[in-house]
Structures are given as C-alpha cells and as structure tokens.
C-alpha cells in the first residue's frame, strides 16, 4: 500500500509525562516499522541533499531513508554506519533541529523529515540483529594511544582499528563512554546502547584500559616513549564552573556534573542497592538553560523532588538546550524561572541549603555571543525556599594533560589548540579533538573530530 503523498511528520510514541517522572526508563519508544516507512516516504530524495551539509559527519541521509522506505532496514543501518560510528546514540541526542533537519527542504513548510527519528530506528534495528563483525584489517604494526573514552575517543579508536592499527584507549573512569555514561541520563540514552557500541569496538580489536588517568599514572610523553606511534587526546570538557556567589559550598549544592555522575554512572537512583548516595530533595533549583540543566532538572524529578525549578538569567529564546528537551522538561512539571539570576545561596546552622536569593533580569544590548545581555532590575530581589541547588552553567577543559605536557599549546579557555582538519596539536604525533579542543559542544561534533583525526593519523603512520 502506498502511503498518502503528504503524510504529516510522524510522532514518536512515548511514555506519558505522569508515568515517566516516576521511572528512569527511556522516554520515547522509537518508531514502529510501519511508522518509519511512512516517515521515510515523506523524504523528497532531493538530488542536492541539503540535509547532508547540516550533518557534521555527512551521513548519506537520502540514501538510508530510501532503504527504510523500501523496508531494507539492515542496509539503511549499514549506510549510516559508513559515516557515523554511533548512530543509535546520535539518533537520540543530536540537535537535529539545528543540523540536518534545519536544512531539509520540507522545513520551510515547518515539517522537516524526522531524520533523527529515522536514524534511531535504523540503528536500533541494527543493534537488535546479531552483530556484524567486519573482517579484520591486515595489521599495520603501528600502535596508537587514545586518551578518553568519550564519543571523540571511541570514534577515533574505532576508525583506526578498522584500518589495522593496534589501538589502546586510556580512560580515567571505571567505565567507557564519557558524557554518554556519566552525564546524559538513562531516560534519554539507555546505557545498554553505549555498552553495545563499546562491545563492538572491542570486537574490532580496540583495547580499553580503565582507571587510567593520563597526566597522573602516565604522561603523554611517557606514552610516546613507551612505543605508541601517535596519541589522540579526547578528554572532553569536564571541569564544572561555579557562579562564585556566597553559599555555593553549602551542603546540598551540587555541580550538575556531580549530581548527574552520582545518578547516572554511580546509579545513586538505585540507592541502597547501589552504594553511592544522593540527596533525596524536596525543593530543587537548577541554574542554567542548556541540555545539562534540563537533564539535571528531569533527574531531580525522577529522584522524587516535589518541586523543581529551572533558573535561567536570559529568556527562553536564548536557552541553548534542545527544543525537545525543553519541551519534555516542561511537560514533566519543571517550572521555568526565566530572566532570573541567583545572587546568594542561603544555609541553615547545619550548613545545609535552605534557600536562594535571586534578582529579576531584563534583556539589554547584545553581547559578544550575539545574545542580548541580561541586566539586573534594581529592587527586584526575592527569596525562594529550597533544599538543593544544582549548578549547570557550563564546563571547561581539565588542565591535567596540558599541565603535564609542556609543549602542548593551549588556548585562552584551557582548550588544546589543534588543526581543524587533522586534529594535529603543537606537538608532533599528538592529535586532539572533541570538547577538549572546542569547549563543551555536541556528541556529533566530537565524533566528527575523532574521525578526521583518525584519517590524519592513518595518513601520517602509513606515509612515514
């Protein structure tokens, strides 16, 4: 049966807001095959494929969508995998509305093809099948060390292994995945998916050494001296920013990193079956307006908080979070306190958080980022009663590696300076990519950088 020529953009079924705030299971269920086919049929198969230009790794979007339409889901997955090592992850967390879907010809009519949902559908189909192990490449005898097992490191390692290089990933944490395991919550990205991707890498021959903090247990120079022919640094932007206001060190004030790490990586939401505790809050304020803030707010709700408000100093239009996440958070009952800036966190005599003092803001002239600068409104001070404050105002790179690698050039914000095309740093045989180079960005940008670096490393190893 031919689907109607102009079906509307297909919705993805999901858990209702009332239901899902009580559990940590994934919110959307994904398309059933029939829905996927209807959605795929909406694609105009433009020859120019503007959508591809919006994709940092240039997935062959019209081609995989055509395969879904034809019902050849396995081939759709294979096509995506050719350019994107982690499609099941990207189908869930990429900001498609700012990338491929934004450039879709149908977007002009307000309803772009749901490329992200289709990607997720094809990738999940692939994961459900017996894994395809690519034939092993002839060993090149070259060894590469990859530092950090986030999306940048995993992608770089996978590509190099498929080219026949011997790759070892060194990861500081006890689990690989980077932000995918410690930052992004289970209800948005099930950890089993990340695990499946990591398992695939291991089958491709990648070795992963966990509990290895480079800069401490070994330096970059020591890795090179030990016989690694090249090193890729993908250590992310892991250092939490604080606001620098009074009361920030009270009990009950968390960085989003700590809050999310406790809940996601350490599984504090299953305390006491898991040993890591987390405060069971009643009234929570999350400060910030990005994806990280949304994740923290939605996690707090699921941990049983009665009231969660999101305090952001600009207006909704400036919020850097994905629209879908803002929408989900609102549906679940997160209260948005916009144009509001905290000036002090208040404590009780036990050193626990009891409230927060804030100022109302209004938007003034645009600042360096092009967004209108929030300015305080005099006399607008007010207090809210709270027991927990989660600060999600951004992260900066960890200085651990730069500070132990003297000849590695570092930019003004602590980011490692690397060539945009090759990832080559100021130090011979050392490459870098992902958040450590760009500052906090996106999963797909990090993967793109890992991929380009793998290509450059391969060229260097085989050329010289």
């Amino acid at each position: 049966m031919k689907p109607p020529a102009r079906a509307p953009r297909q919705k993805m079924p999901e858990q209702s807001a009332e239901e899902r705030v009580k559990n940590f299971r994934e919110v959307p269920y994904g398309y059933p095959p029939e829905t996927a086919k209807i959605e795929a049929a909406r694609c105009l198969q433009c020859k120019t494929a503007p959508c591809r230009q919006g994709c940092p790794v240039e997935v062959r979007i019209p081609e995989f969508i055509r395969k879904i339409r034809e019902g050849d889901f396995a081939e759709a997955n294979r096509i995506i995998k050719g350019d994107n090592a982690l499609p099941a992850v990207c189908g869930r967390v990429c900001p498609q509305e700012d990338q491929c879907e934004k450039l879709c010809v149908l977007a002009k009519k307000g309803e772009s093809v749901a490329i992200g949902r289709l990607e997720r559908f094809a990738a999940d189909y692939g994961l459900a099948q017996a894994p395809e192990t690519p034939p092993p490449a002839a060993p090149t005898g070259r060894r590469v060390a990859v530092v950090g097992a986030g999306p940048a490191g995993l992608t770089c390692a996978g590509d190099l292994a498929r080219l026949g290089h011997e790759v070892t990933i060194f990861e500081a944490f006890h689990a690989p995945g980077g932000v995918l395991v410690y930052g992004i919550p289970e209800f948005r990205l099930p950890k089993a998916i990340v695990q499946a991707e990591v398992d695939a890498l291991k089958r491709a021959g990648v070795k992963i050494e966990l509990n290895a903090v480079i800069g401490k247990v070994e330096t970059i120079d020591e890795l090179l001296a030990e016989g690694f022919d090249a090193v890729f640094i993908g250590t992310g932007a892991g250092l939490p920013n604080f606001m620098g206001i009074p009361g920030e060190n009270l009990g009950g004030v968390y960085s989003a990193n700590e809050y999310l790490t406790r809940s996601n990586l350490m599984k504090a939401y299953r305390f006491p079956d898991f040993d890591t505790p987390i405060i069971r809050s009643r009234r929570v304020a999350v400060v910030g307006g990005g994806n990280v803030a949304m994740d923290a707010a939605r996690t707090a709700l699921r941990l049983g908080a009665e009231e969660v408000r999101l305090v952001y100093r600009r207006s909704r239009e400036e919020m850097p979070a994905r629209i879908e996440e803002i929408h989900h958070a609102e549906e679940e009952g997160v209260r948005f306190e916009l144009l509001t800036n905290p000036i002090e966190i208040l404590g009780d005599d036990q050193g626990r958080t009891r409230g927060m003092r804030c100022l109302r803001m209004k938007l003034g002239e645009p600042d360096a980022s092009g967004r209108r600068r929030p300015v305080p409104m005099p006399g607008s001070e007010f207090e809210v009663e709270l027991d927990t404050v989660i600060i999600a105002i951004g992260n900066t790179p960890n200085p651990l590696i730069p500070s132990t690698t003297p000849d590695l050039k570092v930019g003004s914000h602590g980011t490692i300076v690397a060539d945009k095309e090759t990832g080559l740093t100021s130090k011979a045989r050392v490459f870098a990519g992902g958040d450590i180079v760009t500052g906090a960005a996106t999963v797909i940008e990090a993967m793109g950088a890992g991929k380009r670096a793998a290509r450059a490393i391969h060229a260097q190893l085989m050329g010289g």
Partner: protein, 278 residues
C-alpha cells in the same frame, strides 16, 4: 581487577592491604591517594597510599572499617581482587629541607602521615613524630614511625600508652619549652587538625593538613570535594589534598562531610542485616 597480595588486621577494625597495581606503585609519591570501587555496585572512595613497592608492583592502603564500603573492602581476602583502583591522585607533598618538622597523626591519620614523614626525613629534616589514638590497642604503625623519626611521642586519650591526653598538648609543651619548629604536618580527624592549627597559629608556624572530603571522580570533574581555603574554593582531589591549615575553613569541611550521614547509616544498617540474614 586489582589483586590483594597481603591483608593484615593491624588494630581492631583497622586493616592493612597490599594491592597489586604496578603502574601506580611506580609513579606515586608521598601525599598521593587512590580512589577505589570494591565491586560493581560499590561507591568510589579515596584512601591515601601509605607505602609502595615498585619492584613487587604493590601499593599499601590502611583503612578503618567505618561504613559499608570499608566493610566490603575488609571482607575481601588475599587472592581476591578489588574491582577498581585509580591513581595516583592529588598533588604530592611539597618536600623541602626546612630544619625541624613535627609530623602529627591521629587514629588512622597516622597512615597518611607515614609516607610524608619518610620523605621529610630522607631529604634531611630532623623529624619529630607525635602519634595518637584513643587507646593503646588502636595505635597503628608505631614501630614503623619510630624507625624513621628522630623522636617519637605517643599520646592516648585513656593513658594506656604514652602521654595521657591529646597530641596538641605535647606540641604545645614543645613550643613552650622553646623548641624551634619550622613546619608542622597534621593528619587525622577534622577536630584534631583544627586544634593543631589553633596551637601553631599564634606563633605563625607553617602547618600543613591533609583533607579528606567526600569525593567521586578524583580528577576535578565533579567539584564534590570542594573546600574553602583562604576564602577561595579549591578542589581537594586536584589542588590538594594538602593545604595551609591556617587558611582552611574546617567548619565547612565537617559540615560537608555530614551531607550523607543519614543515608549512609541506613545503607550500612541494611548491609549488616543482609549479612546477618545470609
């Protein structure tokens, strides 16, 4: 997995373990620590590296059985293994020849003082050690500390061994006696470190303390370990663990240490019940 090579009870509820971790053993220096996770459901918690043997590839940790995690660790035997050990973390102790150094360790705090004492001695300082515990049977590493100190003084709360009273009284006595002290290093419970700092403050004797806040990652990415030093926020796992004791806000540290007191008590109780039932 990190194999346990040796395990010994060195005082009631105080366990010494030698753990196979060759890379850490090779790299670590006095003052550094590791973060451990006993098993897949375990939490991450820090322990100072008390000693290491680069040749054998082992590190020594000493801990008191206090909550669920240390109980789980203590339940492992020689030949078994710890799931995760990561390190060496933190900055090494600043070791310098200054003259006369007094090293003070209270309770299991003696374990972290031991490597610092040795490094201070090796570089040519005269070192006096003051170690303390509630009673004689709880005192650890006395022989080891004596072997590396020019002078060792012991204090117990109940007078069952050495001086009856607090180590701060011994320190005060040395100062009153006109003895020149160039540096004091104190590690132990927060009240002890705070008391030592109050004794040395009036004379302006430089005093280094090693802090033990709650940690998660140990690499600077969570900020859970933050303390206030001289009015500035510092992350103990990367900026410390040692700080100028006269600048530390001990009040804040002890309050932050109590953040999960209720939850942890519940977890330890549940654990005991499970063992009791099994």
């Amino acid at each position: 997995m990190f194999a346990i090579k040796k395990k010994r009870l060195i005082a009631p509820k105080v366990v010494l373990m030698e753990v196979l971790a060759p890379k850490i053993a090779r790299k670590r220096r006095a003052g550094q620590f590791v973060i451990l996770r006993v098993n897949d459901t375990g939490e991450r918690f820090p322990l100072t590296i008390a000693d290491s043997d680069a040749e054998a590839g082992t590190i020594t940790i000493i801990f008191q059985i206090a909550g669920k995690s240390t109980a789980l660790l203590a339940a492992l035997n020689e030949g078994e293994a710890i799931q995760d050990v990561v390190g060496p973390l933190g900055r090494p102790t600043h070791i310098e020849k200054v003259g006369h150094v007094v090293c003070i360790g209270g309770g299991v705090g003696i374990a972290p003082v031991y490597p610092i004492l040795r490094a201070m001695k090796e570089i040519g300082n005269r070192v006096t050690s003051i170690i303390s515990a509630r009673s004689k049977d709880l005192l650890i590493l006395e022989e080891e500390m004596r072997a590396h100190s020019d002078d060792l003084k012991v204090a117990t709360d109940d007078g069952s061994h050495g001086f009856k009273g607090f180590p701060t009284q011994i320190l005060q006595g040395m100062m009153n006696g006109g003895e020149r002290i160039d540096l004091v290093v104190a590690v132990g419970p927060v009240p002890l470190m705070r008391a030592v700092c109050e004794v040395t403050r009036p004379r302006g004797i430089p005093t280094v303390v090693s802090l033990n806040p709650i940690m998660v990652d140990g690499t600077g990415m969570c900020g859970g370990c933050r303390v206030s030093v001289g009015g500035k926020t510092q992350f103990v796992c990367v900026d410390g663990p040692e700080f100028d004791g006269h600048q530390v806000d001990f009040d804040l540290l002890s309050k932050r240490l109590r953040t999960y007191a209720d939850l942890e008590r519940a977890s330890a109780e549940a654990h005991k019940c499970k063992i009791g039932a099994g």
